[in-house]
Amino acid sequence: MPKVEFWQGNTAVVMGAIAAGCRFFGGYPITPSSEIAEIMAAELPKVGGKFIQMEDEIASIASVIGASIAGLKAMTATSGPGFSLKQENIGFAYMTEVPVVVINVMRGGPSTGLPTKVSQQDVMQARWGTHGDHETIALAPASVQECYELTIEAFNLSERFRQPVILLSDEVVGHMREKIVIPEKGSYHIVDRKRPKEDPEKFVPYKPDPEDDIPPMASFGDGYRWHVTGLTHNQWGFPTNDPDIAEEKILRLMRKVRRFKGEIVKYDTYEVEDAEILVVAYGSVSRTALSAVREARSRGMRVGFFRPITLWPFPDDELRGLLGGVKSVLVPELNCGQMILEVERVVGGKARVFGKGLVNGELFRPSEIFDFIKEVA
């Protein structure tokens, strides 16, 4: 029988990670993500995994990338300031195509801001925080159950696409305790990175599998010798300035994700069929929003609900497909307007788009979103 637990979101992230096969965690404490490191410290040795507290966030993500190159599924967790510090090395992982999972439990910013309070201010940073181009995969859990499941999903996507995957949790979801049903081992899907099949002497480490544009990955220590560099490189992994090779490398990085966007994006809807007003919300805010939408429906208002679970790539086609009768799209966010920019772009003038930001460190109350709906209706 599946086990039931009453866990914090942060606990569920750890347990989800371990269930996904995570065997390395390198981290540096920061509120409100510290529990992830603490629980990892307790749990990883029990499964033969390695926990290490590094000297800072930069070293943390670096150690995680190193561990992944040496063959372990690996992750780090942080919050705003630490997420900023990790950006350079996250970029290295994109370039070198090393699977890693990065958790950002969002708190109030900018800067040190409101360390113990909730926000959704790092949504755009998750997409654009590092210099240089790449495609981002970022997931936003809205419940403790999802902390568990989406962490597994994050590892799966990361292993499949050989790139960092970001779990954008937030202070409410991370610290909230909730009933969670632990799926039985084997009942969920686990993806492991594709390994090379050829002889080590014939191995071409960045030769993409034409099937999916993704090169199989060897680990240091399993008999293959290869070169990893953050410089733009050719199929052998060696630096090059050749314009054509450089371009193909970057374009492939984009393509390997864009090709499979349809498979990657996850979202949730409620009562969208006849909706004239659509509320788009994610993460902890989506819980308030759903509550407000239910309230509105109970009063006979034609309001629907759309929750991107995958924030990046943004489920644009999926949202566009729902716009039929929609006259207004509402985007409540715990920031000054981030995802709304994407929504505006996607809606492209086909409906009016209204944003509502909240940056006082609190979660929207249902009445606030309900009032927002009423204003627009």
Partner: protein, 274 residues
């Protein structure tokens, strides 16, 4: 010196390498490979990591598991590699800028933490790759592109820094002493714990040209003339030591190695049966 065995460790297809004619980094790579051959290391079980810099281009030329990371961060990457697979021999090759400027924190923490990694610091007293800016080891008064009037701040003594941070093995050689490099690297790699070998080298292109040692040989001669073995140095006055490069082994102590401790922990909590 089994030269063919050394050549076997090279990715010869990328030769000649990008380093300037006479650059000391090649001398160090040569010594490192001799040490590895001598120790009987296997290429597929040896990791050579580095940051960014001329010196840090070294891994690209070595036919092992090689990891050219971001500027200053290689020891943190190497820490992850070694923890993930303790069977690997992990050697981190860094420049003075890479290791002691941007990478200073990872360096002192690696010294403290004592994971079985060997750090080779190629100290040419300058940022070679980016065009001759001052590094934390550029001597006071020397010229650099960011010190057009001469450097003002006191340089690090890398070996003292490593010792102060708690490293279990610390030694220094110069490129004028290739066999000494080889020996210290061999000792360092054999050491169970974090080991540092500083190799004083030259960047005649960026440092030498501005500081009256424009030819490679000027630098080799300078190092020959100004190096003092540490046993001899301990009998010299501070004045006599002025401008000298003290070479030798400075620290060689036994300390608990981190991964060994961690393995014990896994054993204790039963993580080995899982």
């Amino acid at each position: 010196m089994p030269s063919q065995e050394v050549l076997n460790w090279l990715r010869t297809r990328f030769f000649p390498h990008i380093w300037c004619p006479g650059c000391g980094h090649g001398i160090i790579m040569h010594a490192l490979l001799r040490a590895l051959v001598d120790l009987g290391k296997k290429k597929e079980e040896t990791v050579i990591a580095s940051g960014i810099g001329c010196s840090s281009r070294m891994p690209g030329y070595i036919d092992a598991c090689t990891l050219h990371t971001t500027h200053g961060r290689s020891l943190a990457f190497a820490t992850g590699v070694k923890l993930a697979n303790p069977e690997l021999t992990v050697i981190d090759v860094m420049g003075d800028g890479d290791c002691t400027a941007i990478g200073g924190n990872h360096f002192i923490h690696a010294c403290r933490r004592n994971i079985d990694i060997t750090a080779i610091v190629m100290n040419n007293n300058i940022y070679g790759m980016t065009g001759g800016q001052a590094s934390p080891t550029t001597p006071v008064g020397a010229y650099a592109t960011t010190a057009p009037y001469g450097v003002l701040d006191v340089p690090f003594d890398i070996c003292k820094l490593a010792a102060g941070a708690g490293a279990s093995y610390v030694a220094r050689a110069t490129v004028a002493h290739p066999l000494l490099i080889e020996k210290y690297v061999r000792n360092a790699v054999s050491k169970k714990g974090f080991a540092v070998v500083e190799v004083v080298t030259h960047c005649h292109t960026q440092f030498g040209r501005k500081n009256k040692r424009p030819r490679p040989i000027d630098n080799i001669n300078f190092f020959k003339d100004n190096s003092v073995m540490n046993n001899k140095a301990s009998n010299m006055t501070l004045e006599e030591l002025q401008g000298k490069i003290v070479i030798g082994e400075f620290v060689n102590i036994e300390l608990p190695e981190y991964i060994e401790q961690y393995k014990n922990l896994i054993e204790e909590v039963g993580g080995n049966r899982g």
